[in-house]
């Protein structure tokens, strides 16, 4: 597991995570503090990246936006993983009716395009992170279930699971001590994948005004509003674009790295 982070993407990711989590502790200006007189101010000592159309500090807003993107995506992915993997593992081990039911339910969820599902939720419950996180989690549950289920099916067909049964191990022990450790690889990969997709979805929604609500900063929203002010201050658009691209790039690279690490072709050693 540790070797997952020993790569360029892993290091960059760790850096981004560090910024995100300790962000509020840094000596940055308040992201919400307006200073309309100084709108579009250029880089200065107090505002290293300049100020936006309301005079708010750009750098601070970027850091906070990054943070909320990660918290929302990470949170949604976590919830999604817990539910999805549990369902998938039970379906794969117990089989029978529970398997059939679970798979059908997941198929139904998959019929809804994720963005539209979030929009429906936003219509009913109002926009904002409290609607966003649960719906995002729901949207990705089927993918976790499928990966978990498929992995469990592969593993349980292996003789070593039968051997463990013959030792007199209980079903619980088999699931937790024998099967689960052998399926973490693909699940890890899926987790990182879901985080990336969540970041992208969340930013898209914020772009439309349906994600994180103003005045809280979010990358998508910042891009959306900066479109109209491009002529005056191009940097207001380019900075969040760049941040978002870098974030997604690093996450994608990490995801690829994980996928290579856990490629079943490597598992058999030499």
């Amino acid at each position: 597991m540790k070797q997952a982070f020993q790569s360029p993407s892993g290091i960059l990711l760790a850096l981004i995570l560090a910024i995100a989590f300790i962000g509020p502790l840094l000596p940055l200006a308040d992201p919400l503090a307006m200073d309309v007189a100084a709108r579009f101010g250029g880089p200065s000592a107090a505002h290293p990246l300049g100020q936006d159309e309301y005079g708010r500090d750009l750098l601070s807003r970027l850091v906070h936006a990054l943070r909320s993107a990660i918290l929302i995506s990470g949170g949604a992915a976590m919830i999604s993983a817990v539910i999805g993997v549990s369902v998938g593992v039970v379906a794969g081990y117990v089989r029978g009716f529970s398997e059939a039911l679970s798979m059908r339910v997941m198929d139904v969820i998959l019929c809804f395009p994720p963005l539209l599902l979030v929009m429906l939720a936003a219509t009913l419950y109002g926009a904002g992170p409290s609607t966003l996180v649960p719906v995002l989690a729901l949207v990705f549950v089927p993918s976790f279930t499928r990966v978990a289920h498929a992995s469990v099916m592969t593993v349980r067909g292996q003789d070593y699971v039968d051997a463990t049964r013959l030792m007199g191990a209980s079903a619980t022990r088999i699931i937790f001590r024998t099967i689960l450790p052998n399926i973490v690889g693909p699940l890890f990969v899926q987790f990182s994948f879901v985080v990336v997709m969540s970041v992208i979805l969340e930013s898209g929604l914020s772009f439309l005004g349906l994600g994180v609500l103003p005045p809280q900063p979010s990358l998508g929203m910042m891009i959306g509003t900066a479109r109209s002010t491009f002529a005056q201050e191009p940097w207001l658009l380019l900075a969040p674009c760049l941040s978002l691209i870098v974030l997604v790039l690093v996450l994608n690279a990490f995801c690829d790295h994980l996928r290579q690490l856990f490629d079943p072709r490597r598992e058999s050693g030499a």
Binding site: P114, L116, L124, S203, G204, A253
Partner: protein, 315 residues
């Protein structure tokens, strides 16, 4: 044949479930749905308005009656009326849908034309320069959320270079040239990301197929390399590509919504975003039902294609 009927039946059942769930979704809210919809930040809405809304949406009638009324309506093509201006949701969807489809089709075709050949070439020489270059380009393309890419493209081509218009729409019948000109950027925006995905999955799939035993058999028979690649390898490698492509279409619809917003392309997105902002429930659900139906239909189509190309599925 039996397999086909089963698959069709499955899709119809799925569609019915989706429609039912969408219908029921309004009842999954805490408290009274109509109140929730009218709630503005803070105070409770006017009880009279709530009552009017309830009648308008049919929420005052018993549940089974609401359900059958809705389903019957959908079968007739009636998706309800907008809460905001009472216009027919169905009509508006039909007006806008072809434009969205046009975008998706253009982007889809483009991405297959670029992605598949690139993927095959890359798999043939996995460590060559083309491969590595293409991998970098694809990786970058996939890392750009579609609205970011769109925004940057607009900025580059419209504002900085002035080569293409910034957005808008002109019907094909009125001015074909302008119509196509306006189609380029939005379609390209979607196609770039989609091509990257198609490229990767084609490459991976080909790399999986090329070392397989039957390829070795074909070569041992003296079958010329070109035919081995196309008739033997690609034919088998395309199947996962089709599957993934179909899976992407769900996300594609989402991406289209964003791209339409960036380029002011009057497809479903405008209607949808306005609907969400106004909490116009019938509009949002109407679009959702149509889009989901499309998605289910597309998956069915993909499965059928799969069944035709892979004889093992049919037994």
């Amino acid at each position: 044949m039996g397999w086909f009927v089963r698959r069709l039946a499955q899709s119809l059942v799925m569609l019915w479930v989706v429609v039912s769930l969408v219908f029921l979704s309004i009842h999954f809210v805490p408290g009274d749905p109509a109140e929730l919809l009218l709630a503005q930040d803070g105070g409770s809405p006017d009880p009279l308005m709530v009552q009017m809304l309830r009648e308008q949406l049919g929420l005052d009638r018993p549940l089974p009656e609401q359900y059958s009324h809705n389903v019957m309506g959908i079968l007739r093509g009636d998706l309800g009326a907008s809460m905001v201006d009472g216009s027919s949701v169905g009509q508006e969807v039909m007006r806008r849908l072809p434009r969205t489809l046009e975008l998706i089709a253009a982007a889809g075709i483009l991405s297959l034309l670029i992605g598949i050949p690139a993927g095959v070439l890359s798999a043939l020489r996995p460590r060559g320069r083309f491969s590595r270059g293409a991998a970098v380009v694809a990786g970058t393309a996939q890392s750009m959320p579609v609205f970011v890419l769109g925004t940057l493209l607009v900025v580059l081509f419209a504002q900085v270079l002035g080569w293409l218009p910034a957005g808008g729409f002109v019907p094909f019948s009125r001015d074909p040239g302008k119509h196509l000109q306006l189609l380029v950027l939005p379609a390209a925006t979607i196609a770039i990301g989609l091509s990257a995905i198609v490229f990767r999955i084609t490459r991976t799939s080909m790399l999986d197929v090329l070392p397989l035993d039957f390829i070795r058999t074909a070569r041992a028979k003296g079958v010329p390399a070109r035919r081995v690649i196309i008739r033997h390898a690609l034919r088998n490698a395309l199947m996962p590509v089709i599957t993934v492509f179909a899976l992407q279409l769900g996300g594609l619809l989402a991406g289209t919504v964003l791209v339409e917003t960036v380029f002011n392309w009057p497809g479903l997105s405008g209607m949808l975003v306005a609907g969400v902002n106004a909490r116009d429930y019938p509009v949002v659900t109407g679009v959702l039902v149509v889009v989901s139906a499309f998605y289910i239909g597309l998956n069915l189509l993909v499965d059928i294609i799969y069944g035709i190309t892979d004889p093992r599925v049919r037994k």
